[in-house]
Amino acid sequence: MEIQRYVPTQLRPARQMRADLQQIEQASSLDGVGELRSVGEVSLYGPGEKAELLDLYRQMYLIRRFEEACAENYSKGNIRGFLHLYIGQEAVAVGVMSVLRPGDYVVTHYRDHGHALARGVDTNRAMAELFGRKTGLSKGKGGSMHLFDASKRFMGGHAIVGGQLPLAAGLSLSCTYKGTDDIAIVFFGDGAVNQGTFHETMNLAAVWKLPLLFFLENNFYGMGSAIGKVRAGGTDFYPMAESYGIESVLVDGMNVLEVREVMANAVGKMRAGGGPQFIEAKTFRYVGHSMADPARYRDDSELAEWMEKDPLKTFPSLLLARGAAVESDLEAQRESVHQEVSAAVRFSEGSAKPSPHEIFDDVYA
């Protein structure tokens, strides 16, 4: 059987993506994880590769389950305020983080649970933060939109749309200043592109050749606004990066392996001193903007179409088809995730509430 090497870095229009996923399956070239040898009855993946692939599945499933648990606990009143779920976008965070190193900085916006978990932030402490408990990442002071874990160089969810971009540029500046080959990555949505800070930061990163990876999660809506209502240039953003002199690529955000490969390519160039990169992932949030949003502005059929590409369906199917896993492997991962998330909820319920006088802590250095 002839093996076609799949080249994800070439720019492709979104509508071809599904075809491409099929093409990957047919071509039997799975990923950047290991050289593909052949596919037949017997899996030819080594145990290390299998474990890595299974872990990608586990992480995506962890995010999905974590978010579902958040929704449940929001209705129970354990989580309050404003809650934005990442359901549907899991393949992006997991694919991205799988190629980062511990020294890299991650900055994101308020839809931040998926990014935090994929970055390896402790599940218990993340959930406890949402519960507003003392054991939370920011001792309950930040809440859902402001997860922060400096030990993982997870430099926060930020809820002022666009506000996180210059901040990420500052982090990447410190990477070069200190002479490391660490990078910073900043996540933002299609809505954030309309803020001036986005354009300022793009220009600045290009001029200064900062190791800053602009990662656009294009889920086609900013709150209730479809892209077409607020942007004249269509739903593809990546071509605009070129006008700043930044190399850009479009990727299927429902395909964790493609995200991973595109990332590996971009990060490799950045570590070699190539300056900023721009990646646009097309993806979709299955639920409303926040818990308060019934998402009446979009069609059920649109959602259904995206759900057909659900990474939590397509990826395990791919693993099974490739012989990279058997059903019981997947089941074991799901089981361990259920336990992890239930444990996180129990941990949060059982954690002390921060005492009122602790509001006096950490005002000034």
């Binding site: 309050r80 305020g81 930040g142 809820a159 506000g163 509001i359």
Partner: protein, 328 residues
């Protein structure tokens, strides 16, 4: 009279003015089909069309700047900022530009615009959905800053704000939107900008407040009246710039004691200004210090519910401060 909540009052005022004056239009994020994050413009596209109820991209600086540009050409835009916390990207357009438009053109042009801003906390919004943003705005000459707390005032003051020829920042406390119901006339009426109102009569002390804190203060006033027979006079400032100094001074001269209650942090705040004015004009009528009830002087309101409660002034904290001042 009709009974409505603060949100309905705001909606009513805008609808009436949109009907009356074709120069009035609305712009902001998701104000159109979605009707705004708080549904203040719910149903407006159906009645007024997309040309007058304009969905903007996510760009506050542009929203306010465009409103200003339209205003100096004679329009009467109403710009919506979804949360007070998101106004900072627009500050140059507001403080640097709109506030100076008339003065800088020697009166050739007015910035006849309203910027509506849901503000304040107590909604578990944490760092970025709870802020009090009034101090900087009220500090800025050229702007008017209105902060109603009842449906009656919200409607009458918003109609005035839309008709006003100067830039008006209209602060709507988001916690009052659905919480506070009250009577308001159905049709047109206006309440004057720059006029405070005595919301409760009393002779033992004057409590000066605005926004959500008015309601907490009224509760506190009832508590101390029932338990100790202390009768507090409660002034709702309603407008933070220009401040109605006369109403405050007249009351303080009668009661000889002043307490200021605000949700914003204390330093260089509305309360600072009120205290300074009292010291200047009613010093010899006072028989006690001017006291303030405010949150601690911290940057954000914490998310965790217990800590949020600790941070916010409450009826109990206010009644405690009233008793202290009376016992001095």
């Amino acid at each position: 009279m009709a009974t409505m909540n603060v949100l309905e009052a705001v909606r009513d005022a805008m609808r009436l003015e949109m009907r009356r004056d074709p120069n009035v239009f609305i712009l902001g994020e998701d104000v159109g089909a979605r009707g705004g994050v708080f549904l203040a413009t719910n149903g407006f596209v159906a009645e007024f069309g997309e040309q007058r109820v304009i969905d903007t991209p996510l760009a506050e600086s542009s929203i306010v700047g465009i409103a200003l540009g339209a205003a100096v050409s004679g329009m009467r835009p109403i710009a919506e900022i979804q949360f007070g916390d998101f106004i900072w990207p627009a500050i140059n357009q507001l403080v640097g530009e709109a506030a100076r438009a008339r003065y800088g053109t020697a009166g050739q042009r007015n910035a006849s615009m309203v910027v509506r801003v849901p503000h304040g906390g107590g909604v578990r919004g944490g760092l970025y959905h709870s802020q009090s943003v009034e101090a900087l705005l009220a500090h800025t000459p050229g702007l008017k800053v209105v902060a109603p707390s009842t449906p009656y005032d919200a409607k009458g003051l918003l109609i005035s704000a839309i008709r006003d020829d100067d830039p008006v920042v209209f602060l709507e406390h988001k916690r009052t939107y659905r919480l506070v119901r009250g009577e308001a006339p159905e049709g047109y009426y206006t309440e004057p900008i720059g006029r405070a109102e005595i919301k409760r009569r009393g002779e033992d002390l004057t409590v000066i407040t605005y926004g959500l804190m008015l309601h907490y203060t009224l509760q506190a006033a009832e508590q101390v009246s029932e338990s100790e027979g202390i009768e507090a006079e409660v002034i709702d400032l309603r407008t933070l710039r220009p401040l109605d100094v006369d109403t405050v001074i007249e009351s303080v001269r009668r009661t000889s004691k002043a307490l200021i209650v605000q949700e914003d942090t204390p330093v260089a705040s509305i309360g600072s200004e009120v205290a300074a004015v009292i010291a200047d004009r009613a010093f010899f009528d006072l028989d006690g210090p001017v006291r303030r009830v405010t949150p601690p002087d911290f940057p954000p309101m914490p998310y965790s519910p217990l800590q949020e409660a600790e941070y916010m002034p409450s009826p109990n904290k206010i009644s405690y401060a009233i008793r202290q001042l009376i016992d001095l």
